[in-house]
Amino acid sequence: MGAGVQPILEADEFDDAIRRIPPGKIGVWWFLASEIMVFGGLISAFVLFSFASQGAFAAAATHVQWRLGAINTLVLVTSSLTMILALGYARAHNLARTRWCLLMTVALGLTFLLIKTVEYTSEIREGFVPGTSLFWSFYFGMTGLHGLHLIGGIVVNIFLLVAALRKPAWDFLERRIEFAGLYWHFVDVVWIFLFPLLYLT
């Protein structure tokens, strides 16, 4: 390909594949890549310290309420379902059900936080605070950070719900629900790993 006479568009599969991704979607993915590194860093540190702690972590872990944790996992997984169904119904232009699913998602998210608060209070009553030991530092640090992410997701979903309650532009609503969903499911995936890490080991 010499001087100014290069082909107008080179045949470049990868290139076109990238262009076809909606900007919003790939933007969310780039953001998630960075989030993976945040939680990845925390989780690696936790795992390594728990290896180093020679059983201290496992001992401390017996004091967390794994039942509540399990219930919370169920709640969060279900909220993922309602979130993705919201997308499905939005694409089918079924407004009533879209609204209902978004509402359920928000409700389930709040339920998760509620249960988490119950856990926190009972643990703190028993005298387990972030400063108690390294395990509890990680426990509160990681679940706290996860909780903040969840709050962010809930806020976004409330915005979408409001948008859905008004007369929505379908194209806009779908895209937003899809992108918000990506984030919501990611927060779910993080919990899927945090639960066994903190409760079951």
């Binding site: 100014g4 919003g24 780039w30 890549a33 960075s34 310290f49 972030p130 400063g131 509160f140």
Partner: protein, 576 residues
């Protein structure tokens, strides 16, 4: 494309004329205005950072005297000064200028997009950074002063107030960095989506201007490296506020964890700053040599290679930190291997000059000056990369001189090259060449006079971050070198006056510039100076890569990317 435009559209359905002052110049969502805001912010922070360097240098040269225009500086103030100097220069000058400023201004124009993919996110990321700077500056005025544990904030020094006496200063430092990271996280996502998905027709990946390639690589490197440090910063903040013990050995924590997490980000961060600087040089050199960049693909691949390598070299900052000595040699190998991609990039720049028709205008001078000085930073890096020699060099002034020789060329030589090169595009006026040349020569000479003596101070064995040499008998003889460096530093600071004068004068009185004063090829030169918002009347169509200079039997010695072949080679001239 249409998706991209749709998104841009439903986010930014605005036109300048119907905007008031506030929406147009302050809370604007035009990437060109936001870019100028970034540049202004980094210029203001640079004044603080430069001022602190004056205090630091004076203290080192004449420790017993009180500093003219300031007064005496105590050891604790000195530690605070070096901490804030490093933090400000890296996070609040270099990144806002090279990514926030040039990246924001040029990526959409160069790929033929009307604006960033997410204009509001773009504005939000600037205002987040603005808040971060405000927080950092506020930390100067809180009780017990600003952070004083070095820009690396090593624990336990930064972990407990009783070690430095700093209380809220350190917390605000952490918060400022967290906000800064959030800002550039948003910015990085925006860059990547804009640069990859908003490319206009015909703008294939291998036709992207190199600046875009390097900015995008920098963005990816930042996004993927910052996470662990965010995690580490959260732990540090919890340690300081919630009484946890992540970094306190007596409670099962480990100080080396912070060093690992910090440098896992800290080293890639150097490339986040360096690559855009190189990008500017790579844009300027072909234009003023009137030659295609030598080995475009080589440069692209070495850039990506350098980006990947930067993730597996961090422990070279920790050779003598007490980490497992078996880690040293592998990290030595990867570290020294970094010299290969950067050598390729630098050789490509030099080879581009060969057989060219070179015009040493101020942008070219700064670009070449940047290459010439960065070579010193690069080669001295090999000494530090070798674990054995690093036993001697680590934590000495050799390191200080080394990283100033890597960062100053890319940030300031690169940055000034960019300003002199794109000023006509940004403001529609030319800058004064005489003042520019004066500015270059003063900066170039005084910069080298500051830091070459510091290499010798380091070889002489002087640790860095010490308040005065005189407490060590064997270091006393190095004092004259410090005095030379300080005098040169003062000249360097004063030497920026021509630039400031030039800037102000040209903004007001500079001669009007046409669209394409340098006869360059990339798309930003095909629109008005300054460009309108949205950038392009019709989405441009790209026919070739960005460096078609001096093509045989073409009408002119340059062929803009969007010029139809028949116009480029037919009898009709270039429609400029």
């Amino acid at each position: 494309m249409s998706t991209a435009i749709a998104t841009a559209a439903d986010l930014a359905p605005v036109h300048e004329h119907e905007l008031g002052f506030l929406r147009r110049y302050i809370f604007s969502i035009d990437h060109k205005v936001i870019a100028k805001q970034y540049m202004t912010l980094s210029a203001l922070m640079a004044l603080i950072g430069g001022g602190s360097s004056y205090l630091i240098r004076w203290q080192l040269a004449w420790p017993e005297t009180s500093i003219p225009g300031w007064g005496p500086v105590g050891p604790d103030n000195y530690n605070a000064l070096i901490t804030m100097h490093g933090t400000i220069m890296v996070f609040f000058v270099a990144m806002p200028l090279l990514l926030g400023g040039f990246g924001n201004y040029l990526i959409p124009l160069m790929v033929g997009a009307d604006d960033m993919a997410f204009p509001r996110l773009n504005a939000l990321s600037f205002w987040t950074l603005f808040t971060a700077s405000a927080v950092l500056i506020a930390s100067f005025f809180v009780p017990n002063g600003p952070a004083a544990s070095g820009w690396t904030g090593y624990v336990p020094l930064s972990d407990k107030a009783l070690y430095t006496g700093v209380t809220w200063g350190q917390n605000l430092w952490i918060i400022a960095l967290a906000l800064e990271f959030a800002s550039f996280l948003m910015g990085g996502v925006n860059f990547l989506v804009t640069g990859l998905n908003l490319r206009t027709r015909g703008m294939t990946l291998m036709r992207l201007p190199l600046l875009v390639w390097l900015e995008l690589t920098a963005a990816v490197v930042f996004l993927l490296s910052v996470g662990p440090l965010v995690a580490g910063a959260i732990m540090l903040l919890l340690d300081r506020t919630m009484g946890t013990g992540f970094y306190q050995p007596d409670r099962g924590g480990d100080p080396l964890l912070w060093e690992h997490l910090f440098w896992f980000f800290g080293h890639p961060e150097v490339y986040v700053v360096a690559l855009p600087g190189f990008g500017i040089m790579l844009e300027v050199i072909p234009v003023f040599a009137r030659k295609p960049i030598f080995g475009y693909r080589m440069v692209v691949y070495s850039t990506i290679g350098a980006g990947l390598l930067s993730f597996i070299v961090w422990a070279h900052h920790m050779f003598v930190s007490g980490m497992d000595p078996r880690l040293a040699s592998p990290f030595s190998v990867t570290t020294i291997m970094i010299s290969v991609p950067f050598a390729i990039i630098l050789f490509a720049m030099i080879a581009t000059l060969w057989g060219g028709s070179i015009w040493l205008a101020s942008p070219m001078l700064f670009a070449l000056g940047g290459v010439a000085t960065f070579l010193i930073g690069g080669v001295t890096g090999i000494f530090l990369g070798s674990a054995a020699v690093d036993i001697v060099m680590h934590g000495t002034y050799f390191v200080v001189a080394h990283f100033h020789y890597t960062l100053f060329p890319v940030v300031f030589f690169g940055g000034f090259a960019g300003v002199y090169f794109w000023f006509p595009k940004m403001f529609g006026r030319m800058m004064n060449e005489v003042l520019a040349q004066l500015h270059f020569w003063v900066t170039f000479i005084s910069f080298n006079l500051v830091f070459i003596p510091l290499f010798l101070v380091g070889l002489g064995g002087s640790p860095r971050r010490i308040y005065e040499l005189s407490s060590y008998e064997t270091l006393k003889h190095l004092q004259p070198l410090h005095i030379i460096a300080t005098l040169a530093a003062i000249v360097l600071l004063i030497g920026q006056l021509p630039f400031i004068i030039n800037l102000v004068y040209s903004l007001l009185r500079g001669p009007r510039s046409e669209r394409n004063p340098w006869h360059a090829n990339t798309l930003e030169w095909t629109v008005d100076s300054p460009p309108r918002h949205p950038n392009f009347v019709v989405p441009p169509r790209v026919y070739r890569d960005a460096y078609e200079y001096s093509v045989p039997d073409a009408v002119h010695d340059f062929i803009p990317q969007d010029l139809a072949p028949e116009e480029a080679f037919g009898i009709r001239g270039v429609a400029d």
